[in-house]
Amino acid sequence: MHEQAFRFGSARHLVGVVGLPAVIDHGVGVIFLNAGMVYRVGPFRLHVDLSRRLNALGYPTLRFDLSTIGDSGASGQRLSRPEQVVADVSDAMELLKQQSGSTRFVLFGLCSGAQNAHSAAHADSRVVGACFLDGYGHRTFGQRVRHYLPRLLSLSTWRNRLLRRGGSASPRPAEPAFVVEPLPPKVVRAELADMLQRGLKLDFVYSGGVTRYFNHIRQFRECFGRLADHPGISASYFEETDHTYVLTGDRQRLLDHVAQWMGRHFPVTRPGT
């Protein structure tokens, strides 16, 4: 294992782990952003597994905590949260460049991590690709039909609803409130178009855990129109998985997917092991 822990950033407020392949060919480096409030190892250690898989394939990686998340502190700068995220990712790219020689980067983010990856990818020309897990998308007419129609026709749904009204079903516990305000769809489309024009490769992966806003691969075209045809963009729908990939087989499938996508768009000339 070639991993090293760092404190870094403009105020040395960030904490992250750099993973290096045995042979570095100065290709792209991959940076992992926090999934919500989960610290840098990712949900069920997803970021650790994926970064080590990519290291074995020849890619340098950095998994780190954004300001005030996980082990990272506050920067002390007077920046808005979106500005701070972009600044932190910039610091992360600088560290990975120092350690690996990489000057081009791919960002990986799940949920709010995908939204943050989108912002950083749009803002910084060093980003050449991004993998968005349960990232931007919005409800469409088709999504509503697919979501509500089966429920309207389902006897068990009505039975459950009536039972709940009678107070016999226990409510789910409250979840921690950490929601990143999403950008309006029009702005997302415009920024994605900008990124594709700059030559970025973008991969969208949606899980079955977000059917409240995305429930069929066809919806990607409903959301993003002609952008869906661009050769730099790809989308997948892992219908059977949940939002955080709690099952190891689902995580393995995701790892395979990301490794193949990286190999297709950012091939390594000298594999790491």
Partner: protein, 258 residues
């Protein structure tokens, strides 16, 4: 504040530098230091912030702290399925030596939640610990294994998480979030909580689960804390545990032992 954060150090240590650690130095010197032993699996991720807050609080009150990850967990080397009990105990001893070296031979205390408590108690002798504070220590390994199995069964048909129930093949040989081997299962089943015969204190959540129900002979040293981590609830797998009462109680007990 900034000076303190600057001094905190993430690093790899141990033979082969396979273990990840996070050292929190203390400006004041009290002659004692604290090793934080994490729980296992998803519980380790749920407790991350709590452990960090505890480390800050202890360091501020004069007790240097080392947090660390066992082999096969967190940022340490090894795949998740490589986690096993014997190695876990060896890692506690390795981490204790690391902390002792960094603090110039201070008396060592330990804090552990759930299996982290058991690990600290079981390794107390080899790690030369002088006292242990536990939180919801596992009092029945059998019950813990049953609990993990039940949670995995519940996960399989959790329609808040999956659109359709998952087949047995997709969930077998796993505990929530992590692959597990038969060896670990047998090791945990055989787990018994032994009194270490040293300074110890037992924190217990307001609502205990089957696996961490307090034993009769701990009652005198048991402190009940108003926190409900819901260790056995699959709806809470992604929920961080934050609790000021727990932090206050743990800090107070460790400072008393120091």
């Amino acid at each position: 504040m900034k000076a303190r954060i600057e001094a905190e150090l993430p690093f790899y240590f141990g033979p082969g530098r396979e273990l990840f650690g996070f050292y929190h130095p203390s400006a004041a010197v009290t002659g004692a230091a604290v090793l934080l032993c994490p729980p296992f699996g998803v519980e380790q991720i749920r407790c991350h912030r709590l452990y960090r807050q505890l480390a800050h609080g202890l360091a501020e009150s004069g007790l240097p702290v080392l947090r660390f990850d066992y082999y096969g967990t967190g940022d340490s080397a090894g795949e998740s399925r490589a986690f096993e009990w014997t190695r876990c105990l060896a890692d506690v001893a390795t981490a204790a030596n690391e902390l002792r070296n960094r603090t110039g031979g201070a008396r060592l205390l330990a804090f552990g939640a759930r299996l982290g408590a058991n690990a600290a108690l079981a390794a107390a002798q080899s790690a030369r610990l002088d006292g242990v504070v536990t939180w919801d220590a596992i009092t029945s390994g059998d019950a813990l294994v049953r609990q993990y199995d039940r949670m995995q069964d519940a996960l399989k048909v959790d329609l808040n998480r999956f659109e359709v129930a998952r087949p047995e093949l997709d969930v077998s040989t796993q505990w929530p979030g992590f692959e597990r081997g038969e060896g670990l299962r047998a090791q945990l089943q055989a787990l018994r909580l032994l009194d270490p015969g040293m300074a110890s204190a037992w924190l217990s959540s307001a609502m205990t689960d089957e696996a961490s129900r307090p034993l009769d002979h701990h009652v005198g040293r048991q402190v009940s804390v108003d926190v409900s981590p819901r260790w056995d609830d699959v709806d809470c797998l992604e929920m961080a545990i934050l609790s000021h009462p727990l932090l206050d109680a743990a800090k107070r007990l460790l400072k008393e032992m120091a």
